[in-house]
């Protein structure tokens, strides 16, 4: 594999490689590299969030103010989890699992703002990220986060709520226009009684469940939630839908029906085994063609994690890490709605593009990044300390750089060589001309490279 192909594989299915890592992997075959990626993700390293304060609230009657205090603490924990997650993306060795966890977070998009429920859901995504899709789907559907977000707990025999049933079909499995309104009603009845306890564990409340006969997709029985999921998975259109989502996310914005069919076939014939399906993509010839290499627009998370890693940024400050995500339009644990981030060209508008282009040089040159929060709501304050809101700074934020590590990493490298490592696409002669006018320090070279629109591509 060429160095560019090695980087491509690790950019799309991981979070990139340092220059020194590429050198080490150079010479390995496609199969060897893929096996190495898979092997390094065998273990699941869970995020570790300190929720010990929950003990103080346990088993006692809470008054209004105490409830609010607890809610605020849990919201703050959710922001902390975001920060921990970004840090893990930057440092992890298990890059494939980390990437898949992020993919599934976009697929099962929930905004909960509750650190406990966020953590539990993230753990389910992480544990089953490369496992079986049926298990993943059931675990996520039973997570307190999903049960809250899509009103499953309000879904009872007496008063069915269709929110979860509808999104299960439209967004998680078979895709829109493949079911009837009656299928939604019958599915909703089958999920009645799904609830959770205050510690976030699943609880089936049989008194709330409708044990009657339901007809779903033309099949009649005393269906429960799991049965509905099995009927959906037995329909090939579910595999097609997931395959096109995988293709869009990992491969290209431009639909290629035969490649998507290949992915769908693998998914369906393996009973929805995720690992063998992504393996197929990583090993296909078409994944390494010039129509695919460097043709996707980086997501904000890709951009942030990539910069932090390649430029040795100090991302210990939670506030800055979250502020950048908001400014760029992708905040982990806070997707715009249950459909997730639309991605592709939708990341880009005039203001987000200018910010993207200037971001690296602002950081590298110790600039202050102006920031004020839009739509600020008491519910969603960025800065909270021990549950109490502090006054937000409107002055902006700074991110520092470990300059020593940075100098070492790119020591003695010419600008073309650094660009070859950091830019995923071919540089046009004009881009090269603009870039080459930079000053000759490491910071100067990096600023020039990272400010090119080409750096926005993956």
């Amino acid at each position: 594999m060429t160095k560019r192909e090695i980087l491509h594989l690790h950019n799309r299915f991981g979070f990139g490689l340092l220059h020194s890592q590429v050198e080490k992997l150079y010479g390995l075959s496609n199969v060897a590299l893929v096996n190495r990626l898979i092997k390094s993700s065998e273990e699941t390293s869970q995020l570790v969030l300190d929720l010990s304060y929950l003990a103080e609230f346990k088993g006692r009657e809470l008054d209004v103010d105490t409830k609010k205090l607890l809610r605020d603490k849990l919201k703050n924990s959710s922001l902390e989890l975001n920060h921990l997650w970004v840090k893990q993306m930057v440092t992890t060795e298990a890059a494939l699992r980390e990437r898949m966890t992020l993919f599934w977070h976009g697929h099962f998009a929930c905004m909960i703002r509750n650190g406990l429920y966020d953590l539990k859901q993230n753990s389910a995504l992480r544990t089953h990220a490369l496992g079986n899709f049926r298990t993943l789907l059931i675990e996520v559907s039973k997570s307190a986060g999903m049960i809250n977000y899509l009103n499953t707990r309000q879904n009872t025999k007496q008063a069915p709520n269709e929110n979860f049933a509808r999104e299960l079909m439209e967004l998680f499995t078979i895709g829109r226009d493949n079911y009837t309104e009656n299928d939604i009603k019958e599915a909703a009845r089958s999920f009645t009684g799904w609830n959770h306890l205050s510690d976030g564990s699943f609880k089936f409340k049989s008194k709330k469940h409708d044990f009657g006969v339901k007809t779903f997709f033309g099949k009649t029985g005393n269906w429960k939630g799991e049965d509905i999921i099995d009927i959906l998975l037995s329909d090939r259109r579910t595999a097609d839908f997931l395959a096109s989502k995988l293709y869009f996310y990992f491969v290209s914005d431009v639909v290629n029906k035969s490649h998507i069919q290949e992915i769908s076939e693998q998914l369906f014939s393996s009973n929805y085994d995720i690992l063998s399906t992504v393996r197929l993509i990583m090993l296909s010839d078409w994944f390494y063609t010039k129509e695919i290499l460097g043709k996707k627009i980086k997501s904000p998370i890709d951009l942030i994690v990539g910069l932090a890693k390649q430029c040795y940024l100090n991302i210990e400050e939670k506030k800055s890490v979250i502020a950048i995500q908001r400014q760029l339009g992708q905040e982990l644990l806070a997707p715009p709605n249950v459909a997730g981030w639309p991605g592709g060209k939708r990341w880009i508008d005039s203001s987000s593009l200018l910010f993207r282009i200037k971001l690296a040089s602002m950081i590298l040159n110790d600039g202050n990044i102006a920031w004020n929060e839009k739509g600020d709501m008491a519910e969603d304050m960025l800065m909270m300390t021990s549950g109490r809101k502090t006054k937000r700074s409107h002055k902006g934020f700074k991110i520092s750089v470990n300059k020593k590590a940075l100098e070492n990493a790119y020591l003695g490298m010419e600008i073309d060589e650094i660009a070859g490592h950091l830019i995923s696409t071919k540089l046009s002669s004009s881009a090269r001309e603009v870039m080459n006018k930079s000053n000759n320090t490491i910071i100067g070279k990096l600023s020039a490279i990272l400010s090119l629109p080409e750096f926005q591509m993956s």
């Binding site: 460097g294 627009i297 339009g329 709605n337 880009i348 203001s351 282009i357 200037k358 004020n372 709501m377």
Partner: protein, 396 residues
């Protein structure tokens, strides 16, 4: 004239190659009317409490449910026998007296969602509450009826979903001078100047370069058009007033910015509401007063329509912290010089008939308001923008 200037600038900035690709996809543009009217939209973020904005002081239920949050009758700026304004809204009362304000009561949508994010999403996209759309209503208006990027602008650092279309996106900036400076930094300038056909392909990278060049041309164009104009009007120092000042500069300079979007934040008043909301409404009132005066002095008020909304109203019954929780339907202000119907558009919400949650039931769908301004003010096809027909209202 303007359009030609703009194309000339684009051409200069980008080697004339760019122009044909911009003109592509414009066949569907519907230039019906092609009027020169401005729509200014102000979003009150956080869920403004409508019942303490327009106060139903004649309903004893209001005071029964809001013993500490309710505003006493003596303080209310009474407009009719039933309804009056928050004491902070003195300028609004003057507009009301001049027949330049129309208040729409109980605007909302079926199966309301009480989450800020979801409800704002619904207002921005114009979807039903069980649909998830990725484009905004003003973005789709751009797709269908605008030929220049600067026709729709948000006065802010980032662009809201409302202004993102399927093919086009609006511009976002806090003022034209900073916007211009931001695109004229040496490196950015070089990237734009050196860009050639090699950079402007049909793939994603080409899209980035085109967006960059278009942004740069638009910033230059807006800067050139507004730099000679200085407002004589004194504006308050609050943020909304500064945004409206930028807006007035664009309007009074004769730029064809058809839609201006901005937000005023902090309305999530779960605790100690009276003072917090009072301050925010006072800022709003003073900002609008200065803005209207500025437009009137420049003879542009009659070409401008100002719409103010919030993602939801708040619960009728107060909570235990001298505040209110998230609710549903809300009132909406329309300000303009040529209203077909001024004053109250419809009757006050009936506090004795609430939904199961103790919230107001909507009388008007917000998309009827959208359809009305799209058809009657912007002169575009509302069905194309909103996806289906909504019966328009007659405040215009």
């Amino acid at each position: 004239m303007e359009r030609r200037d703009f194309l000339k600038l684009s051409a200069l900035a980008s080697s004339s190659l760019l122009v044909p690709s911009f003109l592509k996809g414009m066949e569907n543009i519907n230039l019906k009317g092609s009027g020169y009217k401005h729509l200014v939209i102000i979003q009150l973020s956080g869920g403004n409490d409508g019942l303490n904005t327009v106060i139903p002081f004649s309903q004893s239920e209001y005071y029964r449910l809001r013993p500490s949050v309710g505003i006493t009758g003596a303080k209310v700026l009474k407009l009719t026998q039933d309804l009056g304004l928050n004491p902070a809204l003195k300028g609004m009362r003057a507009l009301y007296d001049n027949s330049e304000l129309c208040i729409l009561n109980s605007v909302g949508y079926p199966n309301p969602n009480r989450s800020h994010f979801r409800s704002m999403d619904i207002w921005h996209t114009g979807s039903n509450s069980n649909e998830y759309w990725t484009s905004g209503w003003l973005g789709r208006y751009m797709d269908s009826s605008c030929s220049n990027t600067y026709n729709v602008v948000e006065i802010d650092k980032t662009l809201s979903l409302a202004l993102k279309g399927n093919q086009k996106n609006a511009l976002a900036f806090t003022n034209t001078s900073d916007f211009y400076k931001g695109t004229r930094e040496a490196y950015m300038k070089k990237l734009v100047e050196k860009a050639s056909s090699e950079n402007l392909g049909e793939d994603n990278l080409g899209y980035l370069y085109k967006t960059l060049i278009d942004t740069s041309s638009s910033a230059t164009f807006l800067h050139d058009k507004t730099k000679t104009y200085t407002s004589k009007q004194a504006y308050p120092r609050n943020k909304l007033a500064q945004k409206l000042k930028t807006s007035a500069e664009l309007i009074n300079s004769g730029v064809e910015t058809k839609v201006h979007y901005m937000s005023h934040s902090g309305f999530d008043t779960h605790a100690f509401q009276q003072q917090k909301q009072g301050n925010l409404l006072k800022q709003y009132d003073e900002a609008i007063t200065a803005f209207v005066k500025d437009l009137k002095e420049n003879g542009t008020f009659n070409d401008t329509l100002i719409l103010t909304f919030s993602e939801f109203g708040r619960r009728v019954k107060e909570n235990g912290s001298k505040g209110t929780d998230h609710g549903t339907a809300n009132n909406l202000f329309v300000i303009g010089g040529n209203l077909n119907k001024a004053g109250f558009y419809n009757s006050a919400p009936d506090l004795l008939s609430l939904d199961g949650n103790g919230d107001l039931i909507h009388q008007l769908d917000f998309r009827q308001v959208y359809a009305t301004v799209i058809e009657k003010w912007l002169g575009a096809d509302s069905k194309k923008v909103l996806g289906k027909d909504f019966q328009s209202l007659n405040f215009l």
